[in-house]
Amino acid sequence: MASLINALSMLLILTNFRLLGASRLGSCIQTVAIQAVLLGLLPVLANPQMPVRAMLVLAGMTFVKAVVLPTLVRRSAREVQVRGEIEPLIGFTLSLLAGVGMLGVGIAASRRMALSAQYASPLLVAVAIFTILTGIFLIVARKKAITQVLGYLVMENGIYSFGMAYAVHETFLVEMGILLDVWALVFIMGIAIHDIHSAFDHIDTDRLSTLKE
């Protein structure tokens, strides 16, 4: 089991690097969906004797994160006719290198954290911190409002895997609360992006700061 969890953590790290290096919006959204599927598999591997009810909740959550939210983001991207390219404020190669740094931070932090008994894998904590940081990085370092929604989704994935690593059994409680927030966020951001677009013909957030009352 431990080696499978390790392999999944590796894949999660690689999806994060793909997010940092991807230059197309479509592949970014796809990667976020893949990440959600991987995270859905993780609790099953960590706890094979899972009750059926928990399994159903997990399946529902994975469905929302892997299918519904990406579809919503994709639709709002289509509606406001965003161009397919991501416009980075920090270049892709530099983003990848920053990713290495963030991974290092994650590993250093996971080493220092107190290990609880119910602790899935030391690598998973590092991956969780790295995923949260990647989400924040995407929010900060990309220009369009739509990539910021993606950043929030990635961050949520990170928080979820953090919960996975620490509370193997009570993880869904936290997760469902956060998921509700993210769900609302995607809706609000969808509307906001639409409004920004209809008012200004673009959704570049770095130009919003020049607005005055």
Partner: protein, 304 residues
Amino acid sequence: MEMPWSALPVLVAFVASPFLLSIINRTKAFFGGRKGRPLLQPYHDIAKLLKKGAVYSRTATPVFRFGPIVGLAAVCCALALTPMGGPGSMVSFEGDVILFAYLFALMRFAAVLAALDTGSSFEGMGASREVQFSALTEVAFLLGISAMAGLTHKISLSGMLGIPVASDGPSGVTVRTLVAAAFFIVLLAENSRIPVDDPETHLELTMIHEVMVLDHGGVDLGLIEFAGCLKLWIMSAVFLGTVLPVRFGNPLGDTALIAAGIGGIAVLIGIVESTMARLRLLVVPQLLVGAGIMSLLGLIVVLG
């Protein structure tokens, strides 16, 4: 370690390495629906070049003439360090991986100096690109080798590439996959294959490695091409040792096995070249940083 048997794979490498170009060419021809060059064409090309004289520019100094010779010498030393088959490499000592990596760096350094010595702006441009990309591949290679060293608890090249997969820990498969993926990208980049560089391009603006050797002719060019073939052979052997360190324990069988494996890698390179377009120059560093990240992940798994 008996010298005669460990010399056998080296001899095979000398004889068979130009044949890899034929295999790659035939694979590409198969995908393109063409017949391909005669199988012995690379040998004819090198033989023809070795028979010719060389023309030297008046601005070139002896540095230019030393370039190909130093390159070939470095690659021959690296060949002696490369484990190919049962008895390991001809020469092996603890920590020879560092020497191995820097023999290739020396080869590149000689080529870059020779390119700059011609005083042509095109060659300076090629040299600059070559150095930029190799700075990134070197990181990927050294990190990958460190991961292998951590996995096998050996710090000599014949040690870490000759240990059977069965003796790895539980994370062995993950590490070997990550490192092998990184090494394959390094292999493509170092041997100037698609998607990093196109060995058959004739447009100076997009060349990387080829533009550095534009001013070499005759014997010098022959030496450079032969050294290139040997380098491809060596890096394929290292890649093979990472993925499938299979040994029969019989020198003849091992040599045949490794030659067949390297031939298979040449087919793989041919498939990559037929199915992929060349990457834009600006995207190449991303690919190489990606290779470095995979090596780093392998190292993290080993240590963590």
